[in-house]
Structure formats: structure tokens, C-alpha cells
């Protein structure tokens, strides 16, 4: 019968092959899904994965959305991957994203209508601190009271959603907004408008910061003692303890960094693509970034590629919605399937399939 036999060493070929395999299986199964919905599966897959690049009318707009959507995913996933490698499960990045946008946005609104190139950096710092503060709640509760960080960080997402609603109907509501629950526009004032650097690919300043931070994260994880301690904690918590690693510090650092990056992503979103704070501002990047982190093998380069791929499914999904009437939810199913299949085929990284005769 077929048996799984542990490999002596994790297969590095498989580590890179399985994400590609997972995407391929998702395309096939997604095709079945679209067929079940009465669509031509080949056309649907082509629209999602190819049309953003080649379509004559929609192509230019689609391409300009690529980095706009990939930027926040990459930034958040980079932070999350650090924690995931240490076995610290921050799954409330969505909440930290929202709180970062609120904190940074509030600074911008407090300074309104200030002018100067220092405004946006100040807002970015406030955004990062806002996200970090929100992530430190599960960190402190974990360290002090042994509370599960998964559940606490997740609960705080719903608290953050409600806090956003309270802010845009209360203190941060635009005085010129005719009573709508939304803040002033950040993009209509130069000082708070995130500059666009290369329009055709949607590269705004936030994307550059994200890429710089990806490199910084790589250096920290591979070349710095802290990165080594984080990896050691994830692979063998006992060995880490003997080596003198303080688990409380690791929890605080992992949650703090991932919260700060998610908060920064929120600030870039609100001062750029979204333009203002509304209750519809969060679109689930914090959750999709979890898929990006895993699909990218918790590795910076992998995360950049996975972020671009996931952005592509968002954009292609919008095209499919437009031209075939495929509902937006189908793309979420698609993204969920990708993580499922990745986790399933990942078995081949650490195990090999062998044929063993039954010993009786």
C-alpha cells in the first residue's frame, strides 16, 4: 500500500515546486468551478490570468492596478511571515491595517490643511505605530496571561471594524461631507496624497517602501541574530530556550513588526488608492496576505511573487466580473482553494510517497 515516509531532509526542489503545483491545481479546479457556474472554463481562466496583460481596452487600466493591489499584500505578508516562522500566529493583520489607517489618517487630519513634505512621513510613522500598538495587545496578553494570540488578534479585527465606524461617524467625519460617514479626502491635498511614481504599473511611493522593507526583512531573517533566534524558536522552541532566547521577546518582536507593517500598509492605502476613510475601506487584504505569506513560502522573494499573483487574481477577477458576470466571491473561493491545495501538496516537501508491502 502507499505510505508516507519522512525524508531525511526537507526537499528544496519540492519547496519551490509545490506552490507552482498548487496554482496549477487551483486553475484546473477553478475551471471546474466556473464550468459548474455555466461559464466557459478556458475563457474564464484566460480572462483572469492573461487579459490583465494583453487585453487591448482593459489591459492598460488592469496593469496600473497590479502594484497598487500587490503592494499592501506584500507588505502585510512580509510582516506575517516573520511571525509564522517563529510559530507566532498573528491573524489579525486586517485589524492592524485598519488601525494603522485610522492612526495615520488622524494625524493627517489633525494637521489639515498643513503643507509640507514632512506631513506624509509623519503620517506613515503614526500609521506604523497605530498598527503596532494594536498588535501589541495580543502580544502582551500572550506574554502576561498566556492568552492565545490567534483568537485575541482575530477578535480585535471586529473591534477595529467597529472603531472605524465610530471614527468616520464621529471625530474623523468630514465637516464638508454633507453628513456622509467618511473622512476628508487625503488625495485632494498634496501634502497627504501618496505620490505616484510610475503610473502604468501603479507604483506609488508605498510600493517602494514595501520593497525596501522586504529586503530589510530578508537581511534581518538571514543575517541578523534576531532573525536566527526567530527561526530557531519556530523550528525548536526547546533548543531556543536553551540557547538563551527569551520567548516573550520573540512574541513581542514578531507581533510588533507584523503590526507595524500592516499599519503602514493601511496608511498607504488610505492616502493613495482608497483616498479617504469610510466603513468600506477594509477589503480583506489582511486576510488575503495570510495566503500570500504561505504561497510565498514565508520567504521574501516568494512573497513578492505570490503577492503579484494574488493581485492578478483580484484584477482578473474584476475583469471576469465585468465581461462574464462571474461574482466577486468566486475569486475569494479561488484564493482559498489556492491555500488549500498548497497545504495539501506541501506534504511532498517533508515526506515521500513509497510503496510498501503490508507486513502481516
Amino acid at each position: 500500500m502507499l505510505r508516507l515516509e519522512p525524508r531525511q531532509q526537507a526537499s528544496s526542489t519540492m519547496r519551490w515546486l509545490t506552490p507552482i503545483l498548487a496554482v496549477a491545481i487551483t486553475m484546473v479546479m477553478g475551471g471546474f468551478l466556473f464550468a459548474a457556474m455555466g461559464q466557459d472554463p478556458f475563457q474564464a481562466i484566460k480572462i483572469i490570468f492573461l487579459d490583465p496583460f494583453i487585453h487591448e481596452t482593459f489591459g492598460p487600466y488592469s496593469r496600473s492596478q497590479l502594484l497598487i493591489k500587490a503592494g499592501p499584500l506584500i507588505l502585510i505578508a512580509t510582516g506575517l511571515s516573520i511571525g509564522f516562522r517563529a510559530g507566532v500566529w498573528n491573524i489579525g493583520a486586517e485589524g492592524q491595517f485598519v488601525m494603522g489607517a485610522i492612526a495615520g489618517g488622524a494625524v493627517g487630519l489633525a494637521l489639515y490643511p498643513a503643507d509640507g513634505i514632512w506631513v506624509l512621513p509623519l503620517m506613515t510613522i503614526a500609521g506604523a505605530l497605530g498598527g503596532m500598538a494594536w498588535a501589541m495587545i495580543p502580544a502582551l496578553l500572550k506574554i502576561k496571561f498566556n492568552a492565545n494570540e490567534i483568537l485575541v488578534s482575530l477578535m480585535l479585527v471586529y473591534v477595529a471594524y467597529n472603531f472605524l465606524a465610530a471614527m468616520v461617524t464621529g471625530p474623523l467625519k468630514s465637516p464638508d461631507g454633507y453628513g456622509f460617514p467618511e473622512s476628508r479626502s487625503f488625495t485632494s491635498v498634496d501634502a497627504t496624497h501618496l505620490p505616484m511614481i510610475y503610473e502604468p504599473l501603479g507604483m506609488h511611493a508605498g510600493v517602494l517602501v514595501a520593497l525596501a522593507l522586504v529586503i530589510a526583512a530578508y537581511v534581518m531573517m538571514e543575517r541578523h541574530l534576531l532573525g536566527f533566534q526567530i527561526r530557531l524558536t519556530g523550528e525548536s522552541p526547546r533548543a531556543a530556550k536553551f540557547a538563551g532566547v527569551n520567548p516573550a521577546v520573540i512574541v513581542a518582536v514578531c507581533l510588533g513588526i507584523s503590526g507595524a507593517l500592516a499599519g503602514m500598509a493601511g496608511l498607504f492605502e488610505v492616502t493613495g488608492p482608497a483616498g479617504k476613510l469610510t466603513t468600506n475601506f477594509p477589503v480583506g487584504y489582511g486576510f488575503t496576505a495570510i495566503i500570500v505569506a504561505f504561497l510565498g513560502r514565508l520567504n521574501p522573494i516568494g512573497i513578492v511573487l505570490a503577492g503579484l499573483l494574488m493581485a492578478l487574481t483580484y484584477i482578473g477577477g474584476e475583469l471576469a466580473q465585468l465581461s462574464l458576470g462571474i461574482p466577486a466571491a468566486a475569486i475569494n473561493v479561488f484564493q482559498g482553494m489556492m491555500l488549500f491545495f498548497l497545504l495539501a501538496v506541501d506534504v511532498f516537501v517533508n515526506y515521500r510517497l513509497v510503496w510498501k508491502k503490508e507486513v502481516k
Binding site: F145, N146, L151, M155
Partner: protein, 310 residues
């Protein structure tokens, strides 16, 4: 402020209705965790149950068939999780998250044409004399059958885990899967059974939400109820009876804040809506704070991967 508008009897009744979906999901997850598996996909299984139950009830005009369908749907989804974690040995945390993300998307997709519809109503118990008693009647004797079912399920799970051989085996698998394996028990199949049971319970909880509690289908309607169920299992220290306390506490806070919103006490509705989540965090922190007690009650093999060929 006019608190006289709050009728304690009707508050109590709506509290029980609000608590039941979470209680159903939590009792299922408790069995799963007792077998040593951490399934974080409760939210996904609940919402799939919510739409499956709603859709089938509308199509058949029978809420009971709908609830049955919800249990099947929840169990099927859970078995996908089971297959990937138990046979393909994947990380349970990540796979549970995948289940939630997938379930939320799938439910939204399936539910497209059911938004705004009304489900067939679920009949209530009506016992002559007893149901007509003042105060006691509405609180104890005139609910829909599912509320009694949920309490009975808790009792049944307690009995199974603590008073039967099967329950002992299930707990043994959860405490030390290697030892259970060497005694000849089929760890993987026992866990698959527990996972399917957990999925069915979560699905039923979701269906109760869309058929009785709300009753309507809206996208993302579980709003974290599945995660709260997970937190309640921790709060209950993996003891079935305490689940009722946790779920009813949550139900109480939910109903109280909803009524305060309706009264308009001058606090923004958004702040009041936070309270169920904040209370959940607080009670979970209190229960986890005593590390020794927490580690005695938590199943020792929780979340660990089992491979017989090791």
C-alpha cells in the same frame, strides 16, 4: 433613559437564541480538540452551514431538512480539513485558516440568489399549561426545539467523554497519540470522526443563525461567531458544561448591547457593537492566566501532527 422598555423575560428568551449558534459550534469544536486536533475553520463551516441550511430550507420549505443539509455541508467541509491535516500531515493552524477563507468565499458565492429572502419559520414548542405559565413559560417551555437540542447535545457530549469507553479512547488519542497508537487504536480514523462531528455541529449552528436567530441570509453573517466559539472552548477549559456558561454569557452581552443600541443611551452604536468581542477577550484572558490549570485541562497532543511511520 428608559430602562423599563427592557423586559427581563423577553431579554432572557433572546439571550438563549443568541447563544445557541455559538454553543452548538463550541460543543463540536470541544470534541475535536479533545481528540487532539485544532480546527480553526469553525467560522468557515458555520457560514457554509448557514447558507446550506437556508438554501435547502427555502427550496424544500422545511427548516428541518435545511438543518440536516447544513450538518452534512459542515461535515463535508470539515472532512476536507481532516483529509489534508490527517493524511497529508499539514499544519493545522494554516489549514484551519484556509478552511475559513474558503468557506466564507464559497458561502458568498452560493448565497448570491438568496439575499433578501425569508426562510420558512421554525415551529416553537407549545405545551398546554406549561408554555402558558408566566415568566417560566416563555423562558423554559416555549422555545424552538433546537435550543433544547443544544443543551441535550452538551449533556450527551459530557456523558460520552466522561462515562463511555469511546470517550475514554477519544481523550486518550488527544492526550498522547503515540501511546494510543501503540495500544492499537486507529488515531487517524478516530480523529476524522471527531472532525466530522465538529463540522456537523458548526454547520448546524450556522443554520440556526440563518433560519432562526436572524432569520435571513446576508454575506458574512456569522461575523466572528465561529471564532467566538473557539474562544468559548478555551474559556470552558475543555469542560462541556462550562460551554453553556460561556455561550450564555456571550449571548447576554450581545443582547444587552443590542437593546442598549435600540434605547439610544448616547453611546455610539459602534462602541456597543465592540463589547461582545471585548468581553470574549477578557474572559479568555482570565481563564488562560492560570498557566497550570490551563495546561492540565488542555489536551496534551492538541495541534500536533501524527504520522504512524515515525
Amino acid at each position: 433613559m428608559d430602562f423599563s422598555a427592557l423586559n427581563p423575560v423577553s431579554l432572557m428568551v433572546s439571550l438563549m437564541i443568541a447563544a445557541t449558534p455559538v454553543l452548538l459550534a463550541a460543543v463540536g469544536e470541544l470534541v475535536v480538540e479533545k481528540s487532539g486536533v485544532l480546527n480553526l475553520g469553525v467560522e468557515g463551516m458555520m457560514i457554509i452551514g448557514a447558507i446550506a441550511g437556508f438554501a435547502i430550507s427555502v427550496e424544500t420549505s422545511n427548516p428541518w431538512i435545511g438543518m440536516l443539509a447544513a450538518m452534512v455541508a459542515g461535515a463535508v467541509l470539515a472532512l476536507i480539513f481532516g483529509f489534508i491535516t490527517q493524511f497529508l500531515l499539514s499544519n493545522q493552524v494554516a489549514t484551519g485558516l484556509a478552511l475559513t477563507l474558503f468557506g466564507l468565499g464559497m458561502a458568498a458565492l452560493l448565497g448570491q440568489s438568496y439575499t433578501g429572502m425569508k426562510p420558512p419559520s421554525t415551529p416553537h414548542l407549545d405545551i398546554p399549561v406549561l408554555s402558558d405559565l408566566p415568566v417560566v413559560g416563555p423562558i423554559l417551555f416555549s422555545h424552538d426545539p433546537m435550543i433544547y437540542m443544544s443543551i441535550a447535545l452538551v449533556a450527551g457530549v459530557w456523558y460520552f467523554l466522561n462515562r463511555t469507553r469511546g470517550g475514554l479512547i477519544l481523550r486518550a488519542v488527544g492526550e498522547n497519540h503515540d501511546a494510543a497508537h501503540s495500544l492499537g487504536y486507529n488515531v487517524v480514523m478516530i480523529r476524522m470522526g471527531a472532525i466530522a462531528f465538529g463540522g456537523a455541529c458548526a454547520g448546524l449552528g450556522g443554520a440556526y443563525l440563518s433560519l432562526v436567530r436572524v432569520p435571513q441570509w446576508t454575506e458574512g453573517m456569522t461575523a466572528g461567531a465561529g471564532w467566538i466559539a473557539l474562544a468559548i472552548v478555551v474559556f470552558a477549559s475543555w469542560k462541556p458544561w462550562r460551554l453553556i456558561l460561556g455561550a450564555y454569557l456571550f449571548g447576554g452581552v450581545t443582547i444587552l448591547q443590542l437593546n442598549l443600541q435600540a434605547l439610544g443611551i448616547g453611546i455610539s452604536a459602534a462602541y456597543l457593537s465592540m463589547t461582545p468581542y471585548l468581553i470574549t477577550i477578557i474572559v479568555m484572558v482570565i481563564m488562560s492566566a492560570d498557566r497550570r490549570r490551563a495546561s492540565i485541562n488542555a489536551p496534551a497532543s492538541l495541534g500536533r501532527i501524527f504520522n504512524a511511520s515515525h
